[in-house]
């Protein structure tokens, strides 16, 4: 772990209530890198991401984000870090009573001093980035799951986060669109140095975008491997990890 790491976890245990589903998790991610979390369905990827983002308290060990332990940080300090992160939830979690445009504008109105007109402009731009320029005035109930995902991505990008967490961003997208999304993620990272943590099931997409990858193994209850995703394809990896990565299709 070096001081340049923007996200670290040491002996982290995660779960729900008092039930631990994964423990002995040790990760460190340098700023501006892309981390992919992979593993079979239900192994705890979303749970891990919520812990890394400081939304749920760990059941053991520590996580730090931008040098701050969010679990012990309080008040303004905690809020300041959260304001610099963006979160796409697996279920999109759009505010159902607001249009897509209002969903993106909400964090801007709460946190930016910019005038209305500029906030409008920003929201339109971010929605255009995810291809929703024509659906801005729709309500979340009027759009498809894939569109909701993309609107959720736009909202996560609303405040130009330093770290962005994306839970299955490409779910519901066809392969071509999924490729575009990869490109968008890479360009944002390159333009603004954004650190990205994402959950994905698509190995080709992970190979294209991620700098690091962690494989969660439900059988051992801990991480099976951590490193650059390309190294997972090479020999010498635990057989399960190798098999998971060499596999072409996933459920």
């Amino acid at each position: 772990m070096s001081s340049a790491d923007i996200l670290t976890c040491v002996d982290l245990a995660i779960g729900h209530g008092s039930h631990v589903i994964m423990d002995r998790l040790n990760l460190s991610l340098p700023a501006g890198k892309i981390l992919a979390i992979v593993g079979p369905s239900g192994c705890g990827k979303s749970t891990l991401m919520r812990a890394l983002g400081g939304l749920d308290a760990p059941l053991g060990g520590t996580t730090t984000l931008m040098g701050v332990d969010l679990n012990s940080a309080e008040g303004v300090r905690r809020q300041d870090i959260l304001r610099q992160t963006g979160f796409l939830f697996q279920g999109s979690a759009l505010f159902s009573s607001l249009t897509l445009r209002e969903n993106i504008e909400m964090p801007m109105r709460e946190f930016l001093k910019a005038p209305r007109q500029e906030i409008r402009q920003l929201a339109e731009y971010k929605l255009a980035l995810v291809g929703l320029a024509d659906a801005m005035d729709k309500l979340p109930s009027e759009i498809s799951g894939g569109m909701a995902k993309r609107a959720g991505i736009a909202r996560a990008m609303a405040l130009d986060p330093t770290v962005i967490f994306l839970d299955e961003p490409s779910a519901g997208l066809d392969p071509v669109s999924s490729g575009r999304l990869d490109e968008l993620i890479l360009r944002l990272r390159d333009a603004f140095g954004t650190t990205v943590v994402l959950v994905s099931h698509e190995i080709p997409s992970i190979l294209r975008t991620a700098d690091f990858c962690v494989y969660l193994d439900p059988d051992t209850g801990t991480m099976g491997a951590y490193g650059p995703p390309k190294s997972f394809l090479q020999a010498g990896q635990p057989p399960k990890v190798h098999a998971f990565f060499s596999q072409a299709h996933f459920d």
């Binding site: 939304l55 697996q90 979690a93 709460e110 402009q121 255009a128 575009r180 999304l181």
Partner: protein
Amino acid sequence: MSHAPTGLPFARTDVLADGTAVVTIGGAWNLDSALPAIAIKGDRVKVVAEELTDFDSSLPAWLYAHFKNIRQLDLTALPARLQSLVQMAEKATFSDTHAHDTGFLEHFGTWGVESGSSWGRALEHIGHTTLGFLRMLVGRAKVNWADFKLELQTAGVDALPIVALLGFLTGLIMAYVGLIQLRLVGATVYVANLVSLAMTREMGALMTGIIACGRTSTAYASQLGSMNVSQETDALRALGINPIEYLAVPRILAVTLMVPLLAVFATFIGIFGGMVVACAGDLSIEQYLTQAVRAITFKSFLVGLIKSVAFGFIAAWAGCYRGSVAKRSALGVGEAATSAAVLGITFIVISDALFAVIFNLFDL
């Protein structure tokens, strides 16, 4: 992102001989700065940068907003990363395979602390709510004021018809029952005292509080409960916004303000309801009104008002509390609505009894 800004963002337009507008941009652009305004004529634009020290997404957003409809747009003189950020917005087309919304529906859990008894949780929620109000007072809370305005309408104004109807009938019933007894002793004129005093001190606030439990507590429990199911409350927390401050505080504030107004309204309507019965044979309108005015003291008015403030708070809080601890399922939301109404009415009646004891002690 934190940048050290140097120089305000600027944009300048020069028109070349061939009609091309050359827009020069520069300075430090960030989400919080006031951005320049420009007017563009024609459909050929070239954008160049000059002393462009720093930018975040406000600059590509500004470029996209101003030039998305320009047919011949030349961005080649801009830094490559900026060009790509504008082009990404222009050519973004995505298509979806199918709705793929798994995840949250398979999860059954609760928002907030799972440990401790429900009494412990209720107390904790009251504590957080109080803290939210204090933070609102010192201007530190993020409160959804749009919800506040909406709730003044839906929890307040929209309740007028039902409050009027039930208030009227309550007064009417009391007068009817009262007269049966008072006729025996030949003191029918006191029916005005009975109805007006009871409405002012007791029934106006109580009826309105119970109506608020039926209409508002249940509504809040299902609103907040389903926001829980769809992870909307998580999305707020991820932004560093406290859901209690953002969602519960404006609702509770609106209801706590509106229930007393509705209670005063119910009181007058109830007294009128009593008058209809009393003046149908026993009293003249003048007699009834004189007695009623004599019976209502400032003290009893104050008692009714204090109670109605408390009842409004209880009704709104019960809804917000049950909603926030609702189980993450459709069933959980339904249960939250039911239990909110039960909790609200129970607490209102209990606190009404406590008020009776306290007001008796203070001789109100």
